[in-house]
């Protein structure tokens, strides 16, 4: 309108041009995912100001995306080059576009936008109507029609369709000619709207249909009383619309609006619109008017499309950014997983090492060659490695393993050698001497042995571990070592008696000072291992090992060394109950037979609950043979408690009871239980408690959402039907801010439709009610696998005899670790991840290579122990270069195969390089001869599957 003369007078031409522009613009938008060419900011601003459309940046935010994470990418960062700064660069007259756009944005009423799509659709069959609906009311009154319409034939499509519809007998029950044939009746408006409108007129808006009728000058006939079609029928009439007068249809024209422009004549407009088909009597003036109107309309359409496209674009970008976020999260998760894996790998390594050492020691001492009971190793290594700041976790994780070791030792029936005196370095060579030394100090406190023998083996183990650590006693200690030291010192202080260094002094239980030690010994089993055993000479020199065994002797000299902290871990989780909240134990001589399970209290984060022993327990694998146990304030037991700030008491003893299950979580899962039914809640809580979970309870959906807001949980068990807020809604709410935490619905309504609803609300799984203990546990295992890795790791090699390396992620972690180590060790070797991976898979796939994993595992671990700064083989006289070579070879697969299958035959000289490294390291640490090492290692790996099951069985016996 502003520039009527800009355009040629031919409407076709104009149309064409317009289309071109439109296409161009669209293409521009599509190709660049970016704000359209004209000033994006002002554009957006104008929209938000005028409220025509949802502001671009808000539309997605409100409708699809959680608000907090959202940022409009195109506005914030990208916005760039493709935006054409000035209209001069645009391929089409921008001023028009922007003009009309402004106009549009200013005058269009809110909510127009939602119409736009459907109006496009409508336009197919009735452009006019569609356009009309797009038109803001301010611009023209509803009854003011634009006069432009192209492709309208002599008889308008609409009228033809109308006629056709009435001729169609299948519609007769809904719409038909009136009795006289001079009108038609819509008998059932609803039916008409639902079925006929969509079929005939491609929309389902009755009002729109009526409006259209009005445009063609149809009139509604008022219902008379005698209306045969009922009061809800609609009768329409047009003088030229008769059932039998087809020819008259041509006379039915669209009404001409009441002169929207002062100039345009109706007929002219109509003619212009109709094009060639209808004779055009119109004046050029009208023609121009029509064209302008049409152009306006197209312009508006175009703008609308642009807006629409922009919305799509912004949506798209939001999706992109969302995806990026997800990816980042995934990456973080991956990182976490890898850390975990590394963690566990190290753990495994440590275990392997100790295992080897201990097995060898055991062999030597007991001369009993058979099944080596020692499978798992301590995590002391890990602690030493300092890789894991959270000592609590360590302690927890190692609990089971240490316990296992001790029990195995007991089972193996190894006898304790009473000969003390050997310095750790020599102990290997001397047989079990060294072990006995340490046994004096630590081993006997293993509460697990009823016959005293196991305790000795325990001592050996400890000794071995100590020896193992010795070589590594590097100046730079990770924090945990320091802690250990501090703890040792504290222990010393607490144990004047032990300071005497004489093993002959059993520790009286009630005495607090010693009791701490005793306590520790008992609970931890093999507690604290002084790093350097030799100093024990005085104590160990005492031939009376029996006495020594039960006493808590701590050689003062040992205390000056940084010690290896071995946490003995119970197999049981702490149960929450009332007693012993302080983690104190009182010694009851009568309860010597009791099965005492030391457990880190930290496991559940619960206060220690149970009194430690139950004398009548048939299962007691451990007999307290010495008057040891006693109140240890949790803190003292924890050593300075330094490592575990958050965890109050660290250990506690538990009775083994049949209902106690041992899931073996690395960390007690935190579970939020949401249920309004107190009975179900009690039951579920009980189950969860048995499974070693930490439980929080919410009684309805609202409380659940609040809790989720406040705390982090590993799992949510969600009832569905609850007062206030049901589980599905609560889940939806939670999912707005927490996308990850598994939410499991507990429900008795498990029909498919409902299940679908649960899942779509964001729930991860369904646990049908009533569930059994096993059902719940399966669910926990399924969704809390990441908290169970330790168990998995120990299990896999045991049962299958295959290292847990088959998993690709393990391989990856291994490789990662290996490379880290390598670089730390200043080795120039580059590790080929492929080979390493291959290693993992081969070894796991071949039975012959059962033992292969162990070198593999210990490799990174050993390095880790040294913080990567020390060449663990230095003790063997290997240079750093050699060391790195070994590393390199170690990582390449072939050696492992050889190692795995030929351990027996292996001698120091014959060792493959990888083996050499492994053996060398171990030897360096333990002072073991190579041959012995080989043997020990083999046993450790070969017999993994025996001991444990048997042991386990005990725990499952019923009282």
């Amino acid at each position: 309108m502003d520039h009527p003369n800009r355009y040629p007078s031919s409407s076709q031409q104009q149309q064409h041009q317009q289309q071109q522009q439109q296409q161009q613009q669209q293409r521009l938008f599509q190709s660049q995912q970016l704000p359209p060419p004209h000033q994006l900011p002002s554009y957006a601003a104008s929209f938000s100001r005028s409220n025509v459309l949802p502001p671009i940046s808000q539309l997605p935010q409100n409708t699809r995306y959680p608000p907090p994470s959202y940022s409009h990418p195109s506005l914030s960062n990208t916005a760039p080059a493709p935006v054409l700064p000035g209209s001069s660069q645009l391929p089409f007259p921008t001023h028009r576009t922007s003009n009309s756009r402004d106009e549009h944005s200013q005058i269009s009423p809110p909510l127009r936008h939602s119409d736009s799509r459907s109006s496009f659709r409508d336009r197919v069959e009735s452009p006019r109507d569609a356009h009309h609906r797009q038109q803001p009311p301010q611009q023209e009154s509803p009854m003011m029609k634009q006069e432009v319409d192209d492709n309208m034939p002599a008889t308008s499509d609409f009228v033809k369709k109308l006629y056709k519809m009435l001729e169609d007998k299948t519609f007769a029950h809904v719409v038909c000619w009136g009795p006289q044939g001079d009108n038609f009746v819509v008998k059932d408006m609803n039916e008409f709207t639902k079925t006929i409108l969509p079929r005939m007129f491609k929309h389902s808006n009755f009002a729109s249909f009526v409006r259209q009728l009005n445009k063609y000058d149809f009139h509604k006939v008022k219902n008379t009383d005698d209306n045969q079609y009922g009061e809800h029928s609609w009768t329409f009439k047009h003088p030229d619309f008769h059932a039998d007068r087809r020819d008259a249809l041509e006379n039915i024209k669209r009404k001409v609006p009441a002169a929207r422009k002062s100039t345009g004549g109706p007929s002219a407009a109509a003619a212009a619109a109709r094009g060639a088909n209808s004779p055009s009597p119109s004046a050029s003036n009208a023609n121009v008017e029509a064209i302008q109107a049409q152009m306006d309309r197209m312009q508006r359409t175009q703008d609308e499309m642009a807006v629409h496209i922009r919305n799509l674009e912004s949506n798209y970008q939001n999706v992109l950014s969302e995806m990026v976020n997800f990816q980042r999260n995934m990456a973080q998760q991956d990182g976490l997983m890898q850390n975990l894996i590394q963690y566990f790998l190290q753990l495994e390594n440590g275990r392997t090492k100790v295992e080897q050492l201990s097995s060898q020691a055991a062999q030597q001492a007991a001369l009993a060659s058979d099944p080596n009971p020692f499978l798992p190793a301590t995590e002391a290594q890990r602690i030493m490695g300092g890789a894991y700041p959270d000592a609590d976790d360590l302690a927890r994780a190692s609990l089971a393993q240490m316990n296992e070791i001790s029990r195995r030792a007991a089972v193996a029936g190894m006898t304790f050698s009473t000969e003390p005196q050997a310095p750790p370095q020599q102990q290997q060579q001397n047989g079990m001497n060294g072990a006995s030394n340490s046994g004096n100090v630590n081993g006997q406190r293993v509460s697990v042995n009823g016959d005293g023998q196991p305790s000795s083996s325990m001592g050996r183990i400890i000794e071995a571990a100590a020896g193992l650590l010795q070589p590594e006693d590097a100046p730079v200690r990770p924090m945990s070592r320091q802690d250990a030291l501090a703890r040792i010192e504290e222990l010393t202080r607490n144990r004047p008696a032990s300071a005497q260094g004489l093993s002959t002094v059993p520790v009286p239980a009630p005495d607090i000072g010693p009791s701490n030690t005793a306590y520790e010994n008992e609970t931890f089993g093999h507690i604290l291992n002084p790093i350097e055993p030799p100093p024990q000479a005085p104590g160990s020199a005492d031939p009376d090992s029996d006495l020594a065994r039960y006493g808590v002797q701590m050689n003062p000299t040992t205390l000056t060394h940084e010690g290896l902290q071995v946490f003995t871990v119970g197999h049981l989780m702490p149960k929450s109950s009332i007693e012993d909240a302080n983690g104190n134990w009182s010694f009851d001589p009568n309860s010597l037979n009791a099965m005492v399970m030391p457990t880190p209290q930290g496991m559940g984060g619960d206060p220690p609950q149970e009194d430690e022993r139950q004398s009548q327990h048939p299962l007691s694998i451990a007999e307290l043979t010495s008057p040891t146990p006693t109140p240890g304030p949790a803190s003292s037991r924890n050593g300075a408690g330094s490592n575990a700030p958050g965890r109050p008491g660290s250990a506690q003893m538990l009775r083994v009871r049949r209902s106690t299950y041992v899931p073996g979580w690395a960390v007690p899962p935190r579970v939020l239980l949401v249920d309004d039914d107190v009975v179900s809640r009690k039951l579920s809580s009980k189950f969860l408690q048995i499974f070693g979970c930490t439980i929080d309870v919410a009684v309805d959906g609202v409380a659940a959402v609040e809790r989720m807001n406040l705390e982090r949980y590993d799992l949510v068990l969600m009832d569905i039907v609850m007062p206030k807020l049901d589980g599905v809604s609560a889940t939806s709410l939670i999912r707005r801010f927490d996308h990850m935490t598994p939410i499991i619905s507990m429900t008795s309504n498990s029909r498919p439709a409902e299940i679908l609803k649960y899942y779509s609300s964001g729930m991860n799984d369904i646990l049908p009610k009533p569930f059994t203990k096993d059902g719940l546990f399966d669910m926990l295992e399924k969704h809390l696998m990441h908290l169970k890795v330790i168990q998995t790791m120990t299990k896999v090699p045991r049962s299958v005899g295959v290292p847990p390396l088959s998993d690709a992620s393990f391989d990856q972690a291994l490789v990662m670790q290996a490379s880290t180590m390598a670089s730390n060790a200043a080795s120039s070797s580059t590790l080929d991840s492929n080979t390493s991976t291959a290693q993992g898979s081969t070894s796991s796939s071949t039975p012959a290579t059962l033992s292969a994993p162990s070198p593999n595992f210990s490799f990174p671990l050993a390095l880790g122990d040294d913080d990567g700064k020390i060449n663990p083989l230095a003790g063997m006289g290997l240079t750093d270069e050699q060391y790195s070579m070994i590393l390199q070879n170690l990582v390449s697969g072939e050696n492992f195969m050889g190692i795995g299958s030929s351990l027996d035959a292996m001698s120091m000289g014959a060792m493959g390089v990888g083996m050499g490294m492994m053996g060398g390291m171990t030897m360096a640490m333990s002072g073991m001869p190579g041959m012995q090492y080989g043997d020990g290692m083999k046993r450790g790996l070969d017999d993994p599957s025996d001991g444990r099951d048997g042991k386990r069985g005990r725990f499952e016996v019923i009282e």
Binding site: S659, V678, V679, K682, K686, I690, V721, S748, P770
Partner: protein, 148 residues
């Protein structure tokens, strides 16, 4: 109506309790006491009684949805303890409350639903009474004293 069903129900005691479920719970007890299971059972008693009261109120108010919810609620706790018959009746009430006859697989009118619920309410109370008796007896047999 109520009294009638009360009289009837005791004869069908065998399927009143799902022993397996109940034993599972009892197995969770520790120390040869039945603190845990008895605590649960008592909680159930309390909850069931109050639920019945609410059912009566909802019934008086012809609040079918409420009845359905209550039925669902009590069904859950009954199922947890293995109190099978109460559980089944509650499930029926849950369906009736939604104007649905599960057995017939057909929809009910509001009146029809109310009509069905009325006897059911009596029946479920009777069933509950039996269960309570049985459970209390069980604990008495084992020397558990009811403190309240």
């Amino acid at each position: 109506m109520f009294s009638q069903s009360k009289k009837k129900s005791p004869q069908r005691v065998p399927d009143m309790i799902d022993e397996e479920t109940f034993n599972q719970i009892v197995e969770l007890d520790e120390d040869d006491t039945h603190d845990f299971s008895y605590g649960m059972v008592k909680a159930y008693f309390t909850q069931a009684r109050s639920t019945f009261d609410e059912m009566e109120q909802a019934f008086a108010a012809k609040n079918l949805l409420k009845l359905s919810d209550l039925g669902h609620f009590l069904k859950g706790s009954s199922a947890a303890l293995g109190i099978t018959r109460v559980q089944k009746s509650c499930e029926r009430m849950q369906h009736y409350g939604k104007k649905w006859d599960e057995e017939a697989g057909s929809a009910l009118t509001e009146e029809g639903a109310m009509k069905k619920i009325e006897p059911l309410l009596g029946k479920v109370k009777g069933e509950y009474g039996d269960a309570e008796k049985w459970l209390k007896g069980w604990y008495v047999d084992r020397g558990v004293k009811d403190e309240d």
